[in-house]
Symmetry: D2
Subunit: 304 residues, 4 copies
C-alpha cells in the first residue's frame, strides 16, 4: 500500500437503498480526495448516476483498481474477491447495516475507514483462496478435459442437484483414500469459510489466519462421518460414484460453476493467489464472532 491509490472500484447491489445511501456518501468523498471511481459496466448508480464515475468491464477491475470497496453483505465481498484474486488488489468491506464476517465496517465508520485505506493505514490480512478444477472424464481412462476452473474464498461445495438424490462419492487427500461418503455432498472450506456453510454442516470455527481446510460432509448418511481438518497445503480429490439418477453440481462461494459427472475428478487445493483484506485498527476477530453468533447475549437461556 506504499503506492498511493489512484483508482478505486465500488461494487455492490446499488439498487438496494441502504447500499445506494452508502455509495452516495462515498462518491463525493472519493472525488474530493482525487481518487478515480470505477464501477462495473452496466451498474446503475443512484442519482446523480454515473457522473464522474468510470464504468469498466468486470474483467478489468482487477487491473485498473488500486482498491476495491465492497458495499453490502459478505456475498458482495466474495464476488469482489474473485475479481481481484489474480491482481493482489486489497478489499475493504462495508456492511449496509450490521457487521458481516467479511464486511466488517459499519456505514457510520465508512469515511474514516476509506481515508485510512487510501493512506495505507489499515491492517491488511492475507487470506487463502481455494482453486477448484474439474477434470472431466479423468476417471474413465480417456484424456481428461479441464471443464471448470474457479477460485473460492469461502468454500468449494459438491452438492446434489436437479434430481435431489443423495450422492455417493470418494475423497482422497494427498493421494490417500479418506472415505466414501453418502449424503447431500461436502463442503471444502478455508478458515475464512469455516463460519459460512461449513458451520451449518457441523464444522468447527477456525481462526482465519490458520492454514487449514475443513472438509465437512453435508447431512451424511453415516452418523460417524464427521468434519475433518487438513492442511491447506493438501491436495483434495473428490470422485462421484455412479448411481441411479445421480446429479451433482460444484459451487464456489455460493455460485454454481458446473456439474460433476461420475467419471469426472474434482480437485481442490490452495490457489497460488491470495486475497488481501483491509481491517480497521484494533480489529478483533473474536468480538466479531461474539457479535455474529450472539454469544453471551442469550446467556443462560435454557431451563437449567
Amino acid at each position: 500500500m506504499a503506492v498511493p491509490v489512484r483508482a478505486c472500484a465500488l461494487i455492490g447491489r446499488f439498487s438496494d437503498p441502504r447500499v445506494g445511501e452508502c455509495v452516495c456518501a462515498l462518491l463525493p468523498h472519493l472525488k474530493a480526495r482525487g481518487v478515480q471511481v470505477l464501477v462495473i459496466e452496466g451498474s446503475e448508480l443512484p442519482p446523480p448516476g454515473l457522473d464522474g464515475v468510470v464504468p469498466v468491464p468486470e474483467g478489468e477491475i482487477g487491473q485498473r483498481a488500486g482498491l476495491v470497496i465492497a458495499v453490502g453483505g459478505d456475498g458482495t465481498l466474495l464476488y469482489g474477491a474473485r475479481l481481484v484474486a489474480r491482481h493482489g488488489v486489497p478489499l475493504l468491506g462495508i456492511n449496509r447495516g450490521r457487521l458481516g464476517f467479511l464486511t466488517d465496517i459499519l456505514p457510520q465508520d465508512m469515511l474514516g475507514a476509506v481515508d485510512a485505506a487510501l493512506d495505507g493505514k489499515l491492517e491488511s490480512e492475507q487470506r487463502t483462496l481455494l482453486r477448484a478444477t474439474v477434470h472431466a472424464g479423468a476417471a474413465s481412462g480417456d484424456p481428461a478435459r479441464r471443464t471448470i476452473e474457479a477460485l473460492a474464498l469461502n468454500d468449494v461445495v459438491l452438492q446434489k442437484a436437479a434430481t435431489g438424490r443423495m450422492l455417493d462419492f470418494d475423497v482422497h487427500v494427498n493421494g490417500r483414500y479418506v472415505n466414501t461418503h453418502a449424503g447431500d455432498g461436502i463442503v471444502i472450506a478455508t478458515a475464512t469459510g469455516s463460519t459460512a456453510y461449513a458451520l451449518s454442516c457441523g464444522g468447527p470455527i477456525v481462526e482465519p489466519h490458520l492454514d487449514v481446510v475443513v472438509m465437512a460432509p453435508i447431512c451424511p448418511h453415516t452418523l460417524s462421518d464427521r468434519p475433518v481438518v487438513v492442511s491447506a497445503r493438501s491436495h483434495v480429490e473428490v470422485r462421484l460414484i455412479e448411481r441411479y439418477e445421480t446429479s451433482a453440481q460444484v459451487v464456489c462461494d455460493g455460485v454454481v460453476v458446473g456439474d460433476l459427472q461420475p467419471n469426472d475428478l474434482l480437485e481442490v487445493k490452495a490457489a497460488e493467489e491470495r486475497i488481501t483484506l483491509l481491517h480497521p485498527p484494533g480489529h478483533d476477530y473474536y468480538r466479531l464472532l461474539r457479535s455474529k453468533l450472539q454469544w453471551g447475549r442469550g446467556g443462560r437461556d435454557l431451563s437449567r
Copy 2:
C-alpha cells in the same frame, strides 16, 4: 380454580434485588385482595420483612397454599414444582427480567397476572412429572432397598461424578434392552425439559403437551448414539456397569439426589402426580421459543 384462593405462597431467592423488588410490589397487592401470604420458614424478606406474612415449613406449602408464585428464574419454579407436586396446587412463574421457559410472566405484567390467577382467569396447563427411583442392590440378587425417590419436572440425569471417569451403562425401555452407552451419562427429559439440559446434549425441542420422553446421551463415546424419543408411559431402567473408578450420581431438575452404584437400578417413569402451570391468556409457546433461542434475530448471519 373454582374455589377462591385464600393463601398464596411466595418463593424465590429474596436476597436477589430484582426478586426482592417484585416481592415488595406483590405483598401489598396480595394483602389488599385479602389473600394470606405464605413464605418458607427461614426466608428473609426485604423490608418491611415478615410483617403480615406467614412462615410455614417447606413441607407444608403444598397443603396450605392455593397458589404458588415463583419469582426468579426457571430453577425457582422447578423448586416450587417439587413442593406442590403431590397437592395439585397451580404455579405461576414471574421472571425477574426476561422470559424463562417456565417463568413466563414479566415483572411489568405481574400484578395483572396475579389478579387473573386469583380470579381463575389464567390458562392452566398440565405438565408431566418424572419419578426417579433408585433400587440399591437390585442387580445383585440381594433384596433391593429403595434409596432414592424423587420427582422431576424437567429431567432425571445420570452423570459421572467425583472421579470424572466416563460411565458405561445399559438402558432398557419396558423391559427391552435398548443400548449400552459409554459416555458422560444420560438425560431423561420430559417434553418440558426438552429445552433444558437435553437440548445442550443434542436432543430435539418437544412441544410441551406431548406425552413423550427424550433420552439424550451426554457426550456419547459412540458417534451414532443419538437421542431417542419414547412414550412418557414408558418404564425406563438404567444400570451402571462396573468399571475402574466408576462414580455416578443421579440428578433431578439440577439437584443431586444421590449416587448410583454398579449393582443399583435407576428406574424412571411418569409420576402419577402432574404439575399445573398457569399462563397468561394468549400464551404462545413458539413466541417463547423464538425469544429464548433468538430465532430470527440473528437471521442470515453466516457468510453464505
Copy 3:
C-alpha cells in the same frame, strides 16, 4: 388377515441379481401354495420369466393384491407403500442381504415369513403416512390450485433445487407461526422416517408407534434452529420467501413430486390412510436399531 390371501404382488428391481435370486425362490413357493403372483406391468422377471405370473398396471396393485412383498432395500418398500396406501393391503419387506429399517426379513428367513404372512400369523403394525399438498398461488390472493398431492411414509422434504441457493421459508403449526428458517430446507418426518433423512439432519430417533412428527431443518443458517417434535395430528404449513434465484422442490420419500414457488403453500398433515407392515414374531425395534446404527459394536472406540 382373516381372509386367505389369493393374490400377492411381488415388487422390486428384479434386474438386481440378489433380488432376482429371492424372486426365483419365492415364485414356485407361492405357486405351490396356490397363491396368484402379480407383478407390475413391464417388469422383467429373471428366467423363466413371466410364466404363470400376472402383470397388472401399477395403479391396480392396491386393488388386486392381498399382500405386497417388497424385495430389496427400504426404497422398494416405500414405493410399495405408495401403491397400497389407499387399500389397506399389508406389506412384507425382504432385504437382499442385510436388515433394513423397513425390509426387516433376511433372505434365509423369507419362505417361512411368507408362509406366516399368508397364514395371518405375522405381527401387523400400523404406521402413519403424511399427505403433502401444494396449493399453488395460495399466498397471492388468487384462487389457489392444488398442484401436488402425494403421500409419504418416511418424510416430506422441502429442499433447494436447481440454483443451489439457500432457501428462506416460514413454518406454521396449527396456524401458529413457528419460525422463519434460512438454509437448505426442512425434513418433515413421521416416526418411521425419523431414522431416515431426518436423522442425518440431527433429528432424534422416534419409536415407530409414536404419533408424532419431526420437523428437522436442513443445514440451518441459524445455529439454534433445531429439530422440533410436534403431534402427528398437527397441520404444518410451509411458505417460501421470495429471494434472488430461489428454487425449491418438494420430495416425498425420496421422489421429487414438484416445485414450490414463493406464492405457494406446502401443507403437510397425517393422511387418513395408514400403512400395515408385517413383522416376524418377536420383532424387536431396538435390536434393529442396534444393528443398523452399529451400536455397541464399535464400543469404546475413541481414545478416552
Copy 4:
C-alpha cells in the same frame, strides 16, 4: 534411534489376561535380543513373574528406558507418554485385540514391530503435548501459587465436579477475550486428542500432524457455542466465574489433576516437550480412522 536400544520398559495392566498373554510372548523375545526389560516397581507380572526383569521406580522409566512398549488400550499409552515426555523416549503401542488410535499394532504383528523398533526401522512421528498450569488465586490480586502442572497428549479438560452444577467460565486466547461459556466445561485438545473426548463434544477430526488445538465446549448452554480451532502456539487461559455451588476440576488425559477455584487461572499451551510415537511402515491414519469410526462399513444404513 541410531543408538541401539539396551533397555526397554514394558507398561500395561498385566493382570488383564490379554495383556498378560502379549507380555509373556514379549519377554523371551526381548531377552533373546539381549535387551534389558524394565517394569514399574510394584508391577505383578504373569508367571514366571519378574524373573530376569528389572523393576524401577515410575519416575525413572524415562531416564533408563530407550523404548517404552505400552500394551493395552490408548489409556496405557497416554500414561506412558507422561512418563517419558521429558526424555524423548519413543513409544510403541500394542493393542490387546483391536486397533486403537495410539496403540496401533495388533498382537499378531507385535514381535515384528518390536524388532523393527529396536532396529530403528519404524516410522517415528512427533506429537504435540499440552502443558496445563493452574495459578491459584491469580485473579484475586494476591500472589499466585502454581498448584497444578501437568502434561497431556490428548486433552486438558475443565469439567464440573462434585456438585454436578453447570459452570460459567471465560476463555481468552493470546490475551484476547473469546467467550463466556456456560455448560459442563471445555475440552482443549491436541490434534492427537481430536479423536478422543473432543469428538464426543462435537469437535472436528484433525490430522495428527497439524499444529492446532481444538477448544470444544461440553454441552454448552448456548446453542451457537461451537468448537473453535486455534493455533497450537496459542496461549489459552480459562477463568471460572463464581456461582452458587460451583465446583470444577482439571483433567489431563482422563486423570483428575486438581480443582479450579473461581479465583484461579487455568493456563494451557503447547509444552516444549514432544512425544515420539513409532508406527509400522505404511501406517495410514485414514485407514485407522475408517476402522475406528466404522466408516463405510455400515454404509447406506438409514432408510434413504
